[in-house]
């Protein structure tokens, strides 16, 4: 069962090619991370999927509907959290949720959503009195109040302090338990690694890698072997660390030497990401 199928998606703004033919599939119930630096094409992709923008070429199916030809019935089934906060400052948290709940045929109750996004203490506070993190959580709540099958979260924790980020992550994990499909965009690698079942890394309008966060490291970056010899540092990179280590150690033993400060380092996710997204 697929929630989203994207093939050959292209989009240009004037001369600038924002998306150069990307493909990916999101399964139902999956948390899918679209990862990449600013300007990589994440928001363009998401806005095409949400129905805000028309594509130049390619095929897009979101919940078996082409967003370019979607209507109210389709919008009953999706929830959208935009990159920037968009709320009514003079309503309370509960009122805001009731206003948006009124737009849907089968909404979730306001109090239930307040519980999901952990705003119980602020339920009757005016939105303008909330902290930035609390406003984002309400924003997330508004995306959930229609009880959607698929939720779009565009950079949900940008600008958060570490504590607020961890609490937002927990909320997003709760979504998975509710059986929601989630498309999450982020430029934070740790966020994608923490939350996503699968990740696509976008750079310059192209998907440069796709897979489970742990798989991203496999085969991309060479393993690094460092040691000192004759007072100088030697750094080697290899795809075959086992073979290479055997050779190095055999040679050193044959010479009766120690490989000083020998260090074998597997690339971290961070290294992979930086390598993938650097120009």
């Amino acid at each position: 069962m697929t929630a989203v199928v994207v093939t050959g998606l292209r989009k240009s703004y004037g001369e600038h090619e924002a998306l150069k033919g990307i493909e990916f599939t999101i399964n139902r119930g999956e948390v899918f991370g679209l990862l990449g630096p600013n300007g990589a094409g994440k928001t363009t992709t998401v806005e095409i999927l949400e129905g805000y923008r028309n594509r130049d070429a390619g095929d897009v199916q979101v919940l078996d509907v082409d967003p370019q030809h979607s209507g109210s019935a389709w919008r009953e089934r999706i929830g959208v959290m935009l990159q920037s906060s968009s709320l009514y400052p003079n309503l309370t948290v509960r009122e805001s949720l009731r206003v948006f709940a009124g737009y849907y045929a089968r909404p979730r109750g306001a109090d239930e959503v307040i519980e999901i996004v952990e705003l119980g203490e602020k339920a009757d506070a005016r939105v303008r009195t909330l902290s930035g993190g609390q406003q984002r959580r309400l924003d997330l709540g508004l995306a959930l109040v229609g009880d959607p099958e698929l939720v779009f979260l565009d950079e949900p924790t940008t600008g958060f302090d570490p504590g607020a980020r961890r609490s937002a992550w927990q909320t997003i994990r709760n979504l998975r338990e509710l059986g929601k499909t989630v498309l999450l965009t982020t430029h934070y690698l740790d966020e994608a690694a923490q939350l996503a079942d699968r990740v696509a890394v976008l750079r310059g309008g192209v998907i440069v890698r796709e897979g489970a966060p742990a798989e991203l490291t496999g085969g991309v970056v060479e393993t690094e072997i460092r040691y000192r010899r004759n007072g100088g540092e030697v750094v080697e990179r290899t795809h075959e660390p086992t073979q290479r280590l055997q050779e190095l150690t055999a040679e050193a033993i044959a010479r009766g030497e120690e490989l000083e400060e020998l260090e074998v380092r597997r690339p971290t996710l961070e290294d992979v990401y930086l390598e993938l997204t650097s120009e």
Partner: protein
């Protein structure tokens, strides 16, 4: 219909909760009526009592501040903060939303007109309008035309910060030149020339003739035509320039 009533109620709550905006768009004409009415309510302006002149003028000022200025500023702020974009992602149909906003604006304006008329009767002994249906029709036409102009203006305003500056720059001089506070008869020629093309001049005249001179609305074809033409210009500008999404980057 359920969605329309839900959104209409929401719009009314949002309007009255925003005290600053409610003050400038709703209460300011009422306050001006009380202040200027006590200053020159008993003088004669253009051959009628000052208070009666001012009552119709403040209804005109009220349509400019609620349907034109207030609506334009609100919609620019909602557009730039992403509220309009957010609403487009919900099942609420865009037309239901816009009609709710417009009807809510009209209700606000109608309440304001009723308050002005009652205050005129109670404090300044201005007679109640003898042709309520003509007056209601005039208020509907005027509110629709100025709302169209207000929505058209949103396309020309780039940022939320600039919205009240741009809108006030347009509407405050318009309100004064159009003879809502004073009779344009004593204006210098160039101001009268401007007043002669502004829609608010004609809406105020229409209202004044119905309230003070007991005219039937259909005897005011010329004034209605000017207001409707301006409304049509606003509608074209709104169709071309109204956006749901904030400005990029």
């Amino acid at each position: 219909m359920r969605l329309f009533l839900h959104e209409l109620r929401t719009e009314q709550v949002l309007f009255w909760r925003n005290r600053e905006a409610a003050f400038f768009t709703f209460f300011l004409p009422v306050i001006f009526f009380l202040v200027f009415g006590s200053i020159y309510g008993n003088d004669r302006i253009s051959g009628i009592r000052g208070a009666a002149f001012l009552e119709a003028g403040m209804i005109g000022y009220g349509v400019a501040s609620t349907a034109f200025a207030g609506l334009a500023i609100t919609m620019v702020i909602r557009r730039e903060s992403g509220v309009l974009k957010r609403i487009r992602s919900t099942p609420l149909p865009p037309w239901t939303y816009l009609v709710s906003v417009l009807v809510s604006t009209f209700i606000t304006f109608l309440i304001e007109a009723v308050i002005l008329i009652l205050l005129g009767r109670l404090l300044f002994s201005v007679g109640l309008p003898s042709r309520p249906l003509s007056l209601l029709a005039a208020l509907v036409i005027g509110a629709a035309a100025f709302a169209a102009l207000g929505l058209g203006l949103t396309g020309l305003v780039r940022s939320a910060e600039g919205s009240s500056a741009v809108v006030n720059f347009v509407y405050l001089p318009m309100a004064i030149i159009s003879g809502t506070f004073f009779s344009p008869e004593k204006y210098p020629d160039f101001l009268r020339a401007i007043a002669d093309v502004l829609p608010l001049t004609y809406f105020t005249k229409l209202t004044r003739d119905i309230v003070v001179s007991h005219d039937h609305i259909w005897s005011q074809g010329g004034a209605i035509a000017v207001v409707v033409v301006w409304g049509a210009i606003g509608l074209v500008a709104a169709i071309r320039g109204f956006r749901w999404q904030p400005r990029e980057g």
